[in-house]
Amino acid sequence: MTLSITSLANPTRFLSFAGKVIPWLAALVVILLGAGLYLSFFVAPPDYQQGETVRIMFIHVPAAWLGMFGYMVIALSALGTLIWRHPLADVSAKAAAPIGATFTFLALVTGSLWGKPMWGTYWVWDARLTSMLVLFLLYLGLIALWQAIEEPGRAGRAAAILALVGAINIPIIKFSVDWWNTLHQPASVFRSGGPSIDPALLTPLFVMAAAFTVLFVLLHLMAMRAEILRRRVHALQQSRVAHAALAEA
């Protein structure tokens, strides 16, 4: 069976594909997370500048990457909805939003917990954390719009428009936040791990990033499956009402 985005457009085919792939992905996540956690705690040496708290970076940086990855998935799905009219594109976007928002939220929280020992405060308006905050707000807007519009097709298309507007704005927002930050804090721009990351820290970082990515894909497929089923339930409930009404008549 050739596997392509077009061949998976059929919801039933997608469901069976998802059902086969999900257990493997779950196993892969467990393995990667296990390896990543082991590397993070027992293999990676404490950074000479930051001590043990560098271990928070092994969550913070991958979570930030996945937050951005999630928005890319939504933007691509939005193109699929608006331009190519792929039937499952809006399902993909709707499923990805809470997952991406959660990773972005984790990036913010772990960044804050990393910041307290490092800079002494729970929050700084540095370029990276501020950009993460704005990304989180964009996610919230998308989710709010989905909740507000009842009909799934219309909600999907409206959210797709909003997602693309946000995607176009993200470079501008990033540029303005960077500019704003250098304006107010010319002295030090804190970068993760300093100007260059010790190679010994790279391996755990990438393993955790890989683990998070597979986790994203796993949760995404699961959420898409649930959303497809939800729409079937909704359609059946509508037809039940129609049947009952016709039976009365």
């Binding site: 507007v165 927002i173 303005s176």
Partner: protein, 222 residues
């Protein structure tokens, strides 16, 4: 072209005649600036340093809270359907209505700002720059609000939802808008680079935002 101008003239005169909505926006602006010192304390130094930021944020909120008016009235009485099927391309309709919002809401707010700045001890020399920056940046505010208005057409609580959707997109306008003024007050740097960025963002919004708004209108008018 004349049709677009006629539409603009109609929307502007409707808004002026209605009067109340503009008055409410101006009153809201005054209200927020008037109560801010109660939260910040009467220290004039602090107020004058935070004045540009406060004036900008309150302007954004006042403009946003009247933004669901952009398409709402015409949506309710069916005029929007007529406009959508008429000879004017829908992006032009969206642009014209956003421009009407700018003329009838943002410009009065920007002109009121200097007066309110006095309440916050804004230094007098920066007032022309403040008004200039606001006039340069508020087209972006109106046109991006137009996207939000078209996306939330007909929804309950559309005002708050619109603000939620659109505020993150205002971050660049806010950053450059405030920097223009505070660069003149405290330095460093000259106010002209951020002002140029404001103009660029406004111009880009005036061209691109109506396309998105029209797509959302088409979606909601079906």
């Amino acid at each position: 072209m004349t049709a677009a101008i006629a539409l603009l003239a109609r929307d502007v005169s409707l808004a002026w005649r209605e009067g109340g909505a503009i008055g409410v926006a101006l009153g809201f602006y005054l209200m927020v600036i008037a109560i801010a010192p109660f939260g910040l304390g009467p220290d004039l130094n602090l107020l004058s340093r935070t004045a540009p930021g406060l004036l900008w944020v309150a302007l954004l909120l006042a403009a946003l809270l009247s933004a669901d008016r952009i398409f709402h009235n015409d949506y309710e009485d069916g005029t929007l359907d007529v406009l959508a099927t008429g000879p004017l391309p829908l992006p032009i309709v969206a642009a014209s209505k956003s421009l009407a919002h700018w003329i009838t809401t943002c410009v009065p707010l920007a002109l009121l700002a200097p007066v309110l700045g006095l309440l916050l001890n804004l230094s007098i020399e920066t007032i022309p720059l403040l008004v200039l920056a606001m006039l340069a940046g508020t087209p972006a505010v109106s046109f991006i609000a137009g996207i939000g208005a078209s996306l939330t057409l007909g929804l309950r609580r559309s005002g708050l939802l619109l603000a939620l959707l659109v505020l993150p997109l205002y971050v660049p306008v806010l950053i450059f808008g405030v920097s223009t003024v505070s660069a003149a007050i405290t330095g460093p740097g000259s106010p002209w680079p951020p002002l140029m960025m404001l103009c660029a963002i406004s111009l880009a919004s005036m061209i691109l935002a109506p396309l998105a708004a029209a797509a959302a209108l088409r979606l909601n008018l079906r």
